[in-house]
Amino acid sequence: MSGMTQTTASRGTTSSANAMHLSDEALIAQIARGDDGALGAFYDRFGRVVYSLALRVVRDTQLAEEATQEAFLAVWRTAGDYRASRGSARTWLLTIAHRRAVDRVRFEQRRVVGNEPFDEGTEREMREFAASAEDEAWVVFERERLVRALRQIPDGERELIELAYFDGYTQSELADRLGLPVGTVKRRTFTGLARLRTLLEAER
């Protein structure tokens, strides 16, 4: 791997054929060297996931495109800051993308809220999971694994996770909205995520 990295670095850009064999972390290392081929490959791998996430959060295609672009440009600018000790490259990207989208939705005040019951929303989205058959196999796998896990979580916990993650509510906003003490909201969100984590790990 180090031999390949050296070769591509001296040429300055990673071809898509080479990139296919690179891990996410190796791509980030190449991006940190200013390799725009690696940035393109990273986009090819995660662009759809990031865009889909952004669109779910901001609910507007123009804003979702902007949030996606900002996320990948943030990767380009700060790839040198990536620390493997703080999680996988994929998690790093999705954290950046999520924050960008949430920042957008908070800034634009475009949150569409309260217009559909949680369960209906989730059920509708779960049906849509199946509809996106053109996604790559690994995305379909991740999605199905997550859907199975989410179904096993108590409704109250899943709702909190979804409201915090997809609608960008802060924990104190959720407390206000649901009429719960903020400590309860935090504890319930944490418990839900811990449960989800255990379920996801069991599915691996």
């Binding site: 300055g12 850009t13 940190a32 200013g34 725009d36 940035l39 393109g40 090819d44 662009g47 759809r48 996931v49 865009y51 889909s52 996430l53 669109l55 779910r56 295609t61 495109e65 996606t68 672009q69 990948f72 440009l73 943030a74 380009w76 600018r77 700060t78 040198g80 800051d81 620390r83 703080r86 999680g87 996988s88 994929r90 998690t91 999705l94 950046i96 999520h98 924050r99 960008r100 949430v102 989205e125 849509e128 509809a131 996106s132 053109e134 996604d135 995305v139 991740e142 999605r143 997550l146 859907v147 996770i161 993650y165 935090k186 504890r187 995520l193 811990a194 989800l196 984590r197 996801l200």
Partner: protein, 226 residues
């Protein structure tokens, strides 16, 4: 802020993972995560689970031209040098734009006034004042070393640029910006062409190969000559 010698509470972890901790709390949590393997593992697991939630979004296909738009925008970006800030959002806020450089104008004007005072003071001194001063760069690790109105930029830490881009040095004073040389990644010490005076700002941008007559992108690094 206490140094957080105990393990982090769940509430802290969740707030930090969701980007809701305030700046001072974030610093304390980040410092704790740096040294505590147990909490770090917990935090990474939490972040990983939150990241997986992205796959619950209905799968959508981005417009086909988004890829080229991103690559095009990236090619125009100077590569920010690794900041120690773990949150790219705050790292980004630190970046200066040329727009915000207009905020420098009053400072440059004040510096210009100071420069007159300094020059008068220097002229009054015996002429053996060949003092060498080193001014640290802001934005990139490095310095500008000034001796007798000549400056040298220590450019060892500048990262490689995308193909077709070059670093360009500028000397900015009250009258505007003048080009002061080009360099590439790995250049080491770069002489700043022309004279520099007290109050001048030495800045570096990424420009198209061959350089530009005026800066076209955000400065990556700058230092003000004392």
């Amino acid at each position: 802020m206490n140094p957080l010698s105990d393990h982090l509470h769940d509430e802290d972890l969740i707030a930090y993972a969701l980007g809701e901790s305030d700046a001072s709390r974030s610093r304390a949590i980040d410092a704790h995560l740096e040294t505590c393997e147990t909490c770090r593992r917990e935090y990474v697991g939490l972040l990983d689970t939150l990241g997986t939630m992205a796959f619950a979004a209905p799968g959508r296909v981005p417009p086909p031209d988004l890829r080229s738009a991103i690559l095009e925008a990236a090619s125009k970006e100077p590569l920010a040098v690794a900041a120690s800030d773990p949150d790219p959002a705050t790292a980004r806020r630190r970046r200066r734009t040329w727009g915000s450089l207009s905020g420098w104008a009053p400072r440059i004007a004040i510096a210009g006034g100071l420069a007159v005072v300094l020059i008068v003071a220097i002229l009054a001194l015996p002429q053996d004042s060949s003092s060498t001063r080193s001014v640290p760069l802001v934005g990139v690790h490095g310095a500008v070393v000034v001796t007798n109105h000549r400056a040298v930029l220590d450019a060892a830490s500048f990262r490689p640029l995308a193909a077709g881009r070059t670093y360009e040095v500028w000397v900015i004073h009250a009258g505007g910006a003048r080009p002061a040389g080009l360099f590439a990644h790995g250049a080491g010490n770069v002489p700043v062409s022309g004279a520099v005076g007290p109050g001048d700002v030495i800045a570096v941008t990424a420009e198209p190969a061959g350089g530009s007559p005026q800066p076209t992108t955000t400065p990556i690094a700058h230092a003000q000559v004392e």
